[in-house]
């Protein structure tokens, strides 16, 4: 009887642990699916908040904070309307601060990860786009540095080429932008997506839709 109870307790324990990590993965999978469909600022806010909740409950997982940072950057980009100087600097900075806060939490648990450096680049771009005339001197090099670091850590990360492509896509030709170069970079990115082997079902693997969207815009 006593042995039986111990055995049961052991089973119970294992089940509980499995269940919890299962619960974590399931919740993350569901939110990542939602994220891949998000197209409005409210949707990004919703999914970003959810990632933050998961991160704060789990405490030892970096991915929820990573995704929360990505979501917040997206909210900021939507505020900018994808336009240079389109946003309110104060508001954009508030959102960028929030994204940075989330990313710092992720980085505290996961050092030297190319995807984290990609988000650093995204945050720099977000801040720069709020007021490019006065900010590009500071945030331009800062973003480029983060991207270079990402490339050094993992040259096969498809999101690096996506971000490089976006830079080329949005920058006016007079300032060194080029749709042809952007196209080549987006195509590289697609290739890298094809070859990508995410470590798990919830590891970063987003961006393909965006790249395909940009490619459809270039034609």
């Amino acid at each position: 009887m006593k042995k039986g109870l111990v055995f049961l307790a052991a089973i119970f324990f294992v089940v509980k642990v499995n269940a919890q990590s299962d619960k974590y993965v399931k919740a993350m999978e569901a939110k990542i699916a939602e994220m891949n469909k998000a197209s409005t600022s409210a949707a990004w806010q919703d999914v970003g908040n959810a990632f933050q909740r998961i991160g704060e409950a789990e405490k030892t997982q970096w991915l929820p904070f990573y995704y929360a940072a990505v979501s917040n950057v997206m909210i900021g980009l939507m505020l900018n309307n994808g336009q240079m100087g389109g946003g309110n600097t104060t508001q954009i900075d508030q959102i960028a601060d929030k994204a940075e806060d989330m990313l710092n939490k992720a980085e505290a648990m996961e050092k030297d990860n190319a995807d984290i450096y990609c988000v650093k680049k995204m945050i720099s771009s977000l801040r720069m786009m709020a007021d490019p005339m006065t900010r590009f001197q500071t945030y331009g090099p800062k973003g480029a540095e983060a991207l270079a670091k990402a490339k050094a850590l993992d040259p096969n990360n498809p999101r690096i080429y996506m971000l490089e492509g976006q830079d080329k896509f949005y920058t006016p030709e007079q300032f060194g932008g080029s749709k042809t170069e952007a196209k080549a970079l987006f195509e590289t990115s697609i290739k890298k997506f094809d070859d990508a082997k995410p470590k798990s079902s919830i590891a970063p693997n987003w961006g393909r839709n965006q790249v395909e969207y940009f490619l459809s815009q270039i034609k």
């Binding site: 119970f12 409210a42 959810a50 909740r53 006065t134 006016p172 007079q174 300032f175 060194g176």
Partner: protein
Amino acid sequence: MLRLTLTFMALLVGLVAATQTQVAGRIVNARKKPLAGVNITIKDSYDGATTDSLGNFSFSTTATGSQVVQAEMTGYKLFQQSYMLNGQPLKLEILMKEAVDEMTAVVITAGSFEASDKKKTTVLSSLDVVTTASGNGDVTGALKTLPGAQQVGESEGLFVRGGTAAETKTFIDGTVVNNFFFSSTPGIATRGRFSPFIFKGTVFSTGGYSALYGQAMSSALILESIDLPDQTSGSINASVIGVGGGYQHLDKNKRYSFGGSYNYTDLRLAFALIKQRQEYEDVPVFHTADANFRIKTSKTGMLKYYGQFGTNKLKFYTNSIDTLGYLDGFGIANTNYYHNLSYRESFGRWKMNLGASYTYNKDNVEGGLYAMDKQQVQVDPLFFKNFKQRNIGNYFNAKWVMERKIKGLSAVRGGLEYNHNNDDIRYTAFDGQVFNFLVKDRITSAFAEADIYVTNNIAAKLGGRYEHSTLLNKSNIAPRLSLAYKINKESQASLAYGVFYQNPERQYFPSFVDLNFTKATHYIAQYQRVTSLTTFRTELFYKKYDQLIKTAVQNFQPIATGNTGFGDAKGIEVFWRDKKTVKNLDYWISYSYLHTQRDYLNFPEAIQPSFAATHTASLVLKRFVTKWKTQFNAAYNYASGRPYYYILPEQTGFKFVDRGQTKAYNNLSLSVNYLPNIGNSKSKVFAVYVLSVSNVLGFDQVFNYQYSYNGFRKEAIRPPSRTFVFIGAFLSFGIDRSQEAINSNL
């Protein structure tokens, strides 16, 4: 055994299934406005939701028992409260309080214009300081397009709200700068010594400023130098007025940087092409070298040094107004050293700023009457026109400020300041007689100030300053007070009051009579509305002057007779900046109305002084044309006519010999910057080509009139040339500094 297990399993499943609690409700702010986007959650669980545009939320949770409900949103204080969860639907009405933070809180702005890239109350960005067409690449140039400042062109400095240029003091990293401009030259406004590129922030206060600053009755120009540069880089430049180059090195780990630059300015070419009113014997030649280092001493600590060495020389003649067929000659040779060392560090809630600066300045001035063959002559009764003067100034300033955060944004700060001024003057009269004066002044000051944020929307700044001058052997205590109230997200109203003391100018020392501080009292009311692309602000002010210096004449020199002068100034100012209405066009308009009178120096009665125009207005336009990689800047400045007068002593006191009013001042300046490599990250060299033209329409600009010694003849004081054209090329290597270089667009 099996039965037991099953029972257990059933129990477990039952537990999980049984308690689902529905949590729903609404979140509002203190004004009962719904908050959208709030992250509401059961602490340490996944369960939660985001509020919709009406502030509503709803979610279910499996957590049971006493649980903490948490609501979080940027700009608001975290909401946390415990509730019992037992399956009964929970209906919540949550009120979130605004966090007092720099992003949303009211800012005390009465009296000050700020140019920086970080703060939200800024009226100009740091680029604007240098891309304003009429600014001539000078730190103070762009500020003259803001309300409050006069369009004075016959001498340097900022004349603010009825105050003289001497009533404006400039501070770099906290300490006062004694020779901010190149030494004065009669009838010509000299430039500032400092390149606009060494500063990252500028605060131009036209009144009511903080107790941290003193010895300025009208205005404080507070400049903050840059920290570490973005990258290692080199630069060279060539223009019609000279050549220069520099290098900045940034440590790989971004812990320290150092650098230096040298500029050689020679106006011979420019003056050969553009005729000057003055006939130069020595065309102005300037050598300026600077050096700096910046060390990050810890995560929050920064030690900075900036030093400059400059030397220049000029000599010119103009037809003498006193006697026909003769020339008035003026020559000056100047040597100047400036060193500034500053250190800042934080210790928990404490912040410390330490600064020290030292200036050595030597002027050799020579004036006289010359025959047409440029031989100095003495003509009766104009002997007094021939003189030599050598001034050596040694100035040391130190300032120590401690600040402690109290709660939210509230803080107290206090500190000490010490100014050590030695002026050694040797005056040689026409007959060879030599007079030596040594004027020493030690000013010791103590100040304290509190920033009190009652709520996010109401703030007060209360301060006081004590000063003691050994030269006057007197002390003063000056109270300062500002209030700010945030009306809504975009608008705020502010009030400011303050008393400002200043020592009389050094030329009145040594004095035969006891002199006191001169004094101004400011009252300012301001309203401003700032959106992301527009700024509107208006200010109403009243300023009262007391204890101004009155003078008499002795040996052709003015001497102080006491502090019996007085005056006042009142007016209204409007500023409007708009980047929205016309696509790609950025413009601002400023207007100032000023009514001022004063009785000081040799004035027979209270009159409007010659440096004050009643109406002043500026229109500044900027447009970048991407297709041509070119920026176009234009500025139109207007000032109504200013009074002029000639005053001579009579038996008792003084009388007007003549007086009048100049015609209105108009000026249109244009500048074009071409940046062929902008945004091209592959290019190793970044070039900026600049063309700028002042007074494009060729207006006849009259600043003032000068008189013959007896007042029988007068002559208009005009700019040295009707228009001036500047052409230059700026190349930098390493980093894309094209933006920065546009700004040196003179």
